[in-house]
Symmetry: C2
């Protein structure tokens, strides 16, 4: 363990506390829906990217095409997603969230945001602008980092 820089220390401290909190609430919500984690993860991905093919799922989650097919089948049964044929390539299928699926995920996100809103309420008027500026700096840097990977 080499001694971390002050800024790394600050980032790590924040991350530790933040991860613990977020993960807990996320796992808890996933459970409460009755869906399994893999199923839930697929819904999350769909919410983020809009739509997906089977093969992209098996790639993203590093499972076989068979597994992807079976997982999505259950989500279709539960009416969380819809499977439609790609008119350009009739072998391929595109899946997307139904309104029911969308609502479920959005509820989960709202719950994850709740803690952050509480956090915001603890900040003083002088602190807020500083926090905003710093977070924007970080977000900016992070998206640059993601671009090229």
């Amino acid at each position: 363990m080499t001694k971390p820089l002050p800024i790394s220390r600050a980032l790590r401290g924040w991350m530790d506390i933040f991860m613990h909190r977020s993960m807990r609430s996320w796992m808890h919500f996933a459970r409460s829906t009755g869906l399994s984690m893999p199923q839930f993860s697929i819904l999350m991905q769909l919410h983020h990217k809009g739509s997906f093919g089977m093969s992209q799922i098996s790639e993203k989650f590093d499972i076989t095409a068979a597994a992807a097919s079976q997982l999505t089948e259950k989500l279709v049964q539960g009416a969380y997603i819809e499977r439609t044929e790609d008119p350009n390539d009739r072998r391929a299928k595109s899946i997307q969230l139904t309104p029911k699926g969308k609502e479920l995920i959005e509820t989960g996100i709202t719950e994850r945001y709740r803690w952050m809103d509480e956090l915001v309420s603890k900040l003083s008027a002088e602190e807020k602008p500083k926090v905003i500026e710093a977070l924007n700096i970080l977000t900016e840097a992070a998206s640059k980092l993601d671009e090229k990977s």
Copy 2:
């Protein structure tokens, strides 16, 4: 959806990008160890809190005592944890990480930190102090929030 305050927007933006990144790398690492998520979670908890009784595990993870017992058994088999008798109450057992278990978790944490270190390297000299200050503010506020819950 009520319109969020600017500071909430900043926090949410940061959180979205941050969660995506962290979760991916964490899940990926958990997989690479060959351990299941529940097993891995137990090791994480132990790393954080030092030691635990069976009953606390079943409570924390919301599973039956039987399930907790079986899960820990596998971790004992794998030599990741150690189960010792509580001298005060010989029914109770206390479990803790072995050096092997500790090393595994620390490797995982180091990997999660790597991305953050890359992120830090993208920041300018003027940005760094601002980020440090803001993160400390947030961390402080978050730990106050956690205390009373």
